[in-house]
Symmetry: D2
Subunit: 145 residues, 4 copies
């Protein structure tokens, strides 16, 4: 279902590159890769229950920083897999690694990371990653080791 | 400050066309005009207090339908005025007229409308436009008549 | 593969609603439906060879007007089918009908139309729809009648 | 006109935060900061003639990598200045530094960098930054030293 280059990524989404994703230089806009990253990352955060804790307790994720390195230009039509996995899981923050693999290139088109901090939206301060969320993250990551 | 073509529009925002707003056909994406419309419309909705009633009472606007007709292609660099005015103000809905005027063309680049319905987000049903909001709308519209 | 509500649509794309597609009102942004429309429409235009005639001869499609009516709010996570079909095929223009069907609602979430004009990008004037393109459109549309 | 925090940035654009720029967490989407960065950077690239050399000679800029660090959440309504300046100007590449300053916070909301490589789009290979472009970059940067 996924691609061999993403074997160690517990969450992989698959999507068609849209014509709308391209910019005036006629390839996929560098901005859109961050949307791909984010859409995969939010599937991950949803599965580990971190969106639910935000909704119910105000304890949610917040993005501290992110980056991308562009390897191959993408164009419509193409289809990509977008993988996400956790790393550097600290008490109050963690890093996500993102990788976009193109069917047309059969190679990585873009990769990057995102640092997510655990945030108490009601009291407006950092907080520890909720225990149940941390446990689900560890289970997710253990699947691919 | 505004443009003569927008003399009858009580709210006009002004913005530079961004390079990012263009698509693969090398002019401003048809999608982006709806962002221009919306950004002007939300300034209007904010001024008449309709965002405040949503936040405080759950009584807010919801978009029923919208449309755009494209007159002139826009390109970076350019600067546009985006006007919005109300019309057909009914008990539970109203129409907004949108017009985008380009400095480079000195003409209308795009125009359209949006039908907004008054919605009770807590009880999930339509409702009358809140009185204070309606009064502010009538005052805003009276200014340009 | 597709949805019964889209039985008469010759081109249907399928995609997951992304978290990024939602706006500050916490449902899919009205702007994003136009991206869904456009991504489906461009798959259609690509299949009938209208992007190739633009690339090779400068004879391509241009959007004259578009509209959308919102039926049901969409939220992440969900999966949608986006159908597109041609209608009113005139010598120099045609209309596309768009329909977005939600898996979560099992119903139409949004529908709209787009009027596309045939344009000679090199000579900057309207032109007839290229014959080969017109023939492919008629074949595509005949499949679902 | 600009903000003291951007005194050393030769190009600064100013723009109103749009309601559409916010995401489902009710502050400006992390994706949108990259649009702010890019819109400022393309004004810079346009001024130094690098878009003209792409159009006329096929010698243009290409993005290798980019990153952002988020300091303060932005919300509509607000107004921001987005500064860009060059650094590490090498024969075939350079780095741009980006900084977004918020009027509401009177502080930096976001900062990041972008590495741009000089690319020969016709022969599909890296190339030296065109001389006239390099000279204009050096003049631009000298203004703020």
């Amino acid at each position: 279902m996924s691609h061999p280059l993403l074997a160690e990524f517990p969450v992989v989404i698959e999507l068609d590159v849209g014509w709308s994703d391209m910019d005036s230089f006629d390839h996929v806009s560098n901005l859109v890769y961050f949307r791909y990253f984010q859409d995969a990352r939010l599937v991950y955060l949803d599965r580990v229950g971190w969106l639910a804790t935000k909704r119910e307790l105000g304890l949610g994720p917040i993005l501290k920083s992110t980056n991308a390195t562009y390897r191959k230009p993408l164009k419509f039509p193409d289809r990509v897999w977008v993988g996400v996995r956790g790393s550097d899981i600290l008490p109050d923050r963690m890093t996500f690694e993102h990788k976009v693999v193109s069917r047309a290139w059969d190679a990585v088109a873009c990769e990057g990371t995102a640092v997510i901090v655990s945030y108490d939206y009601r009291n407006e301060c950092k907080c520890a990653i909720p225990d149940a969320v941390r446990q689900r993250i560890e289970e997710m990551e253990a699947q691919t080791k």
